[in-house]
């Protein structure tokens, strides 16, 4: 076998980690999460009851069971009923249901944000004037806090009625979430569409390819490695946007309301306040994981990606 053939074969075989190495990485990851819990318990055991006060402000929290419940108490509380009413569902179920609702809304927001973001990215790449004119405003748009939009969107929505179909309240939340999601997608799309090597573009020019053919054959595939992290960021932004918008618009069914409401009950039931937080964490992770699947589907276009 010649040296060249050996080299090609070596390159084609995927760089699979050995099973032992993968298990080790997973174990260390779990250890990391446990370390956070351990740090919590350690501070709780060693820290002063009233917290650490420096120059009049409390820099580290109170360590009483009321202020900082034990980690196992938080977990145990999940299995107990949500309220003291008879027949109340267990807490984890209530939280899971709310998280699913928020996930669905965030999903809609993400889809809308992605469509708008990709559309804007394409617009700005094809016409440079559009890039000069729109890009600064797009960047600036992200400095406007969500809450300014919430009542406006909700009120507009309440007025919209098309052939008997009323604007549902959750759609207001989704619109606000899409406002957060479109930004990273637009920037990522633009950057990706502008990323192809000059040699590739000159090649297409030598073929007499039209602008749209170049877009389809070279620019869009080249954009995939930039688009995927942008979509992931967009998903995270959609989740944040959903949670904040739920609080701002007073939407009842999602996890946002639970975050505020259960925290309000923390003086009587401190562990309960942490349940929706775990739900929100799970929500973010699931959203990121789902977007990761898109990356798996598009993996042929990632072959040129640097690690």
């Amino acid at each position: 076998m010649t040296a060249d053939a050996a080299q090609v074969l070596r390159a084609r075989r995927p760089r699979a980690r050995s099973r032992a190495a993968r298990v080790r990485v997973a174990l260390l990851g779990v250890l990391g999460v446990l370390a956070v819990a351990a740090a919590w318990e350690l501070y709780k055991a060693l820290g002063p009851d009233d917290g650490v006060v420096v120059a009049g402000t409390r820099v580290l929290p109170r360590t009483t069971d009321l202020a900082m419940p034990h980690t196992w108490e938080m977990v145990a509380r999940l299995l107990e009923p949500t309220t003291s009413q008879a027949g109340a569902a267990p807490l984890w179920l209530t939280v899971a249901q709310a998280a699913l609702v928020s996930l669905a809304i965030a999903g809609v927001g993400w889809v809308v944000g992605t469509l708008v973001g990709v559309g804007l990215g394409l617009l700005m790449q094809v016409w440079r004037v559009a890039e000069h004119g729109l890009l600064p405003w797009i960047v600036l748009s992200q400095t406007v806090p969500l809450i300014a939009f919430a009542p406006v969107v909700r009120s507009w929505g309440a007025r919209i009625e098309i052939a008997g179909w009323q604007w549902p309240p959750w759609l207001s939340v989704a619109v606000i979430a899409s406002y957060l999601a479109f930004f990273p997608v637009a920037i990522g799309t633009l950057k990706g569409l502008q990323s192809p090597q000059r040699t590739h573009l000159e090649l297409m020019h030598s073929y007499g390819a039209s602008r749209w053919q170049t877009l389809r054959s070279v620019r869009l595939p080249a954009a995939v490695p930039y688009l995927l992290p942008a979509l992931r960021l967009g998903a995270a932004s959609a989740v944040i946007g959903t949670v904040v918008a739920e609080v701002s618009t007073g939407y009842l069914d999602g996890i946002g309301r639970q975050l505020v409401a259960f925290a309000g009950q923390a003086s009587g039931d401190p562990a309960k306040a942490w349940a929706p937080i775990f739900g929100a964490i799970a929500l973010g992770l699931v959203a990121a994981g789902l977007v990761g699947l898109v990356g798996v589907a598009l993996r042929t276009y990632r072959r040129g990606e640097a690690s």
Partner: protein, 265 residues
């Protein structure tokens, strides 16, 4: 400039860069004023630019005070979060097992809504403390600084590392002469991203309760009492705050780049 760059002259390109966004902005403002002032669309909820300007001048004092509170929270959070981010990234770059332990925690922090912690933090630290909001800003700043610093610390080329080894350079020497200058641009990129995140998260944390004061709290209460023009005036102040902090980090980035390369780049 080859054919693929387009045929516009550089000077025309430069003027277009300035004129286009201004034109779009003015157009947007005009449409807004038209829709609200003349056509009367949602006059109640979406006030005209002139109304907002009036509220701004009328409330200049409270606006400045609120901007100070939110600004201090954002800056303190940014400083603490960045310091912890750089320190942990330095450790993670050195010890692979720490990096592998931190990886899922940081990846999780990057995708979860950190503001979800705000209500619980407020009850932990007490409803009159700003520490909850600062913690949120710190965690939001930590993530981009940590990720970018870690990346930067790994950007040294094998060639440069071999060179240092051939000089029998000690660990601290290699750190000082090679690793840190290589990592510096990445750290500053992380800071730039973190600055906007710090302001936004400090502000959004105020929607979730806590002590009085701060831009977010006033936006929230103004909207609740249907004083929308005043709410938008506070929104304007928050835009300025975010922009201001962003420009500071950009200036810092330019300064360090100039120090490292003497303006050659």
């Amino acid at each position: 400039m080859s054919v693929v760059d387009g045929v516009r002259s550089p000077r025309r390109d430069r003027t277009l860069r300035l004129v286009a966004p201004v034109a779009v902005g003015l157009l947007g403002l005009a449409v807004w004023q038209l829709l609200v002032g003349v056509v009367g669309v949602s006059a109640h909820l979406l006030p005209s630019p002139s109304e907002i300007a009036a509220e701004w001048t009328a409330n200049a004092g409270p606006i400045a005070e609120a901007a100070w509170i939110t600004g201090v929270n954002a800056v303190l959070g940014l400083l603490v979060g960045s310091a912890v981010g750089v320190a942990l990234a330095a450790v993670a770059a050195r010890l692979r097992w720490i990096d592998q332990m931190l990886a899922p925690v940081v990846a999780g922090l990057a995708v979860v809504p950190i503001v979800a912690l705000a209500p619980v933090l407020n009850s932990m630290f007490g409803a009159d403390s700003e520490i909850g909001r600062r913690t949120i800003a710190a965690i939001a700043s930590f993530v981009p600084v940590f990720l970018n610093t870690l990346r930067g610390l790994r950007q040294t080329t094998p060639l440069h590392r071999d060179l240092m080894r051939s000089y029998a350079a000690t660990g601290p020497q290699t750190l000082r002469t090679l690793t840190l200058p290589t990592a510096a641009p990445y750290v500053l990129t992380g800071l730039r991203v973190a600055s906007s995140l710090a302001v936004i998260s400090a502000l959004v944390a105020e929607y979730f309760g806590g002590p009085r004061g701060g831009l977010g709290a006033f936006i929230s209460t103004s909207a609740a009492t249907s004083a929308y023009a005043r709410a938008w005036a506070y929104v304007g102040a928050s835009i300025l705050l975010g922009l201001g902090l962003y420009l500071v980090t950009v200036a810092l980035e330019r300064l360090v780049t100039r120090l490292l390369t003497g303006g050659a780049r």
